[in-house]
């Protein structure tokens, strides 16, 4: 072990100032900021890889429960496919609802991961480093689920490949006019590029894990790391590729949810055919997505003992983010509401009446409470933002609120077509409830298992950040400072 001490270079073991007062300040800065709190890479890696490999009782319990939910999902789906879509609560007026609500919701969740990784990378927000991979893994599983939702929803799911442009015996391809085709192209692009993006960013960490692990994990990481050594050429190419992905995936992300919004906006359904639906859905997606990332962060922090990486500063920043998104979302929602309200378009007036005083009022007010009142009332306070339980509480409320919002748009508005003879109300039945609960379980299972298989904190990004961050003394005060290396 004496040999090892030599590796602990001064970069990672920065001495405290002699002055006791300044030393206290530095200690405070280090406590607050992960990137100031530099530790030797070996130690950082150990903080990630250690808990990851220790599969405790809680993990197995979660695995069994979430695996059970996933199985419920698949079994219910098989039942529904064999019996027919009639087992759901859908009817001749409301032909879309449960699965499309889930579809929109999960696509929305999938937005935050890439947003945090790519957009914040482009903007050089270094604090995002420890969050990005957890967010990306959420993206991947949420998108996977979102991709299955239109399939679950199909009347003849065994013919799903008819929607794929591939030469076939039918001699017919899908119609590119259909928003469903746009959807599939956009989601496929987004999902595949998200997976590649996540994998690229993971390569150096997999190389670290390869060196540290043993047994089957060693073999797994050896294969996954592809012989990454960290040569200067590899690093440069990785940086370029990641930049291309970051710039590329941001417009794709916007397009995905815009296209999802167009699924609705392209129709003649009152309450759907609104031109603001695209940006409104994108913001809604980010809103619920950032909320979901906050929840995942809190859970992973607890489960994998990531207190070192995920600090108050991160929750604080995410809280601010949530608040800003809430403002933006309200702005769009108000737009979508105000204009038809002002026009007094009859059928939309019916919908508004329904929301404000009809049977849907409890849902609508809950949604407004969860999406507006609570975030606005609480998130301005640093205290709330920094308190993990409080912030998670708000984030959970936002999830509830955004789910209800999708429910109101998809299931309620659809029940009010222009000919009042056909109005209808959607009441969920057991199959779609089981499937919905099941897919939540599946996403949780995916993130849980993945967080035990790959380093869920990007070690190299944290270490790089720590390398580039230091303190600066101005007068008698110590401040965190950042080196702009690029």
């Amino acid at each position: 072990m004496a040999e090892q001490a030599k590796f602990d270079s001064p970069v990672w073991n920065r001495p405290l100032p002699e002055d006791a007062e300044l030393a206290a300040q530095v200690r405070e800065v280090r406590e607050k900021h992960l990137l100031q709190d530099a530790r030797p890479p070996r130690e950082v890696a150990e903080k990630v890889l250690g808990p990851m490999a220790r599969l405790g009782r809680v993990f197995w319990l979660a695995f069994v429960v979430l695996g059970g939910l996933t199985a419920t999902w698949l079994v219910t789906w098989a039942y529904q496919a064999s019996q027919g879509m009639g087992v759901t609560g859908l009817n001749r007026t409301i032909m879309w609802a449960p699965y499309i609500i889930n579809f929109v919701y999960f696509i929305g969740i999938g937005h935050a991961g890439t947003f945090i990784s790519a957009a914040l990378r482009v903007l050089k927000f270094d604090w995002r480093a420890p969050i990005s991979r957890a967010a990306e893994s959420l993206t991947v599983f949420a998108l996977l689920v979102a991709l299955t939702m239109p399939l679950i929803h199909m009347g003849r799911v065994w013919k799903f490949y008819w929607m794929i442009p591939f030469p076939n015996q039918r001699q017919l391809w899908p119609d590119p006019r259909s928003p469903i085709f746009w959807d599939m192209t956009a989601i496929f692009t987004y999902l595949s590029c998200s997976v590649l993006f996540m994998y690229l960013g993971m390569l150096p960490d997999l190389a670290i894990a390869r060196e540290k692990a043993s047994g089957w994990r060693k073999r797994l990481y050896t294969a996954l790391a592809l012989g990454w050594r960290g040569t200067e050429r590899e690093w440069k190419n990785l940086d370029t590729t990641l930049n291309i992905f970051s710039y590329g995936i941001i417009p794709v992300m916007f397009s995905v949810h815009t296209v999802v919004a167009w699924d609705f906006a392209m129709t003649l359904q009152p309450g759907w055919n609104s031109s603001i639906f695209g940006p409104y859905f994108v913001i809604g997606a980010l809103y619920s997505g950032v909320g979901a990332v906050i929840i995942i962060m809190a859970i992973l922090r607890k489960a994998l003992h990531l207190e070192y990486f995920l600090r108050q500063e991160h929750f604080n920043a995410m809280g601010k983010f949530l608040l800003v998104l809430s403002f933006t979302w309200v702005y769009f929602y108000f737009n979508d509401y105000l204009i038809p309200w002002y026009h007094k378009e009859p059928i939309l007036t019916v919908l508004f009446r329904l929301f404000s005083s009809g049977w849907a009022a409890p849902f609508w007010y809950t949604m407004l409470f969860a999406n507006i009142v609570v975030p606005w009332a609480t998130l301005w306070s640093r205290k709330v933002r920094s308190s993990i339980p409080a912030l998670v509480g708000v984030a959970v409320l936002v999830q509830v609120g955004m789910y209800i919002e999708r429910y109101l748009i998809v299931a309620v508005a659809l029940g009010y077509p222009e000919l009042p003879f056909n109005w209808s109300v959607y009441v969920p039945r057991l199959p779609e409830i089981l499937i919905t609960v099941g897919v939540f379980g599946f996403v949780a299972l995916g993130v849980t298992v993945l967080s035990r298989l790959v380093p869920i904190i990007p070690i190299w990004e944290v270490v790089e950040g720590q390398l580039l961050h230091g303190t600066r003394r101005i007068g008698r005060a110590i401040f965190p400072a950042k080196t702009e290396a690029d």
């Binding site: 009639g86 001749r92 409301i94 879309w96 009347g155 008819w162 929607m163 077509p417 000919l419 003879f421």
Partner: protein
Amino acid sequence: MSELETRLLDRGQSAAAAPKTELPSHKWTMLIDLDKCTGCNACVVACHVENNVPIRSEREVIRGHGQHWIRIERYWEGEGDTQRATFLPMLCQQCSNAPCEPVCPVYASVHSERENLNLQVYNRCVGTRFCGNNCPYRARSFNWFAPQFEGPITEMLNPDVTVRSGGVMEKCTFCVQRIRRSEEDALVEGRPLREGDVTPACAQTCPTSAIVFGDRSYPESQVARRLGGQREFQVLEHLGTAPNVYYLKAGGSDGGAG
């Protein structure tokens, strides 16, 4: 062998009888005179029988899975004690700018320019139900379950019409099988289609002749002659779907034409 030649051969015509040019185009149009509609439902039953539309059980109807290609929408007009019901037969409007068509990812809902028809190709349908949502008339019905025809009831199924499997969208076709049959008959006899050759099941049975069907592009047809009057309107005209089903408002007459 071309499709047309095969069809002619089946009717005992040698392939040489097939016209070398394109088949003539039509503007199939339906006219529903609300002044004459009595809500008797004869059209509904006739349609069920002609087009093998399954009857759904009570439980299914309660769940909103009732399946009809044409239905009589009954509205109430007026207030309080003077409230009076009105009937509006609603079926696929065979829109020229059909909102259901472009949203279908698999070309199951397509347009026939030649015949001015909105076609539904059951065997292509994968059941996304996008078309159903996008139909402002809610004229499309989905097979929530596979249809059930009990015992000998299968014998009365019309062999000209496919029985749609579960998970497939269906809708009024203007009895395209009858159009096809009449077209063939005309071809075999070497004459153009005449007014009255094609009548969908609903128009045929309608006791009051409230439903009239014909080719709008033929100026002597009943529909062409009766179009353009004061009473004419189209349902949800403002949406720009350009339906090919025209309605005549109740409470007036166009005198002698009907």
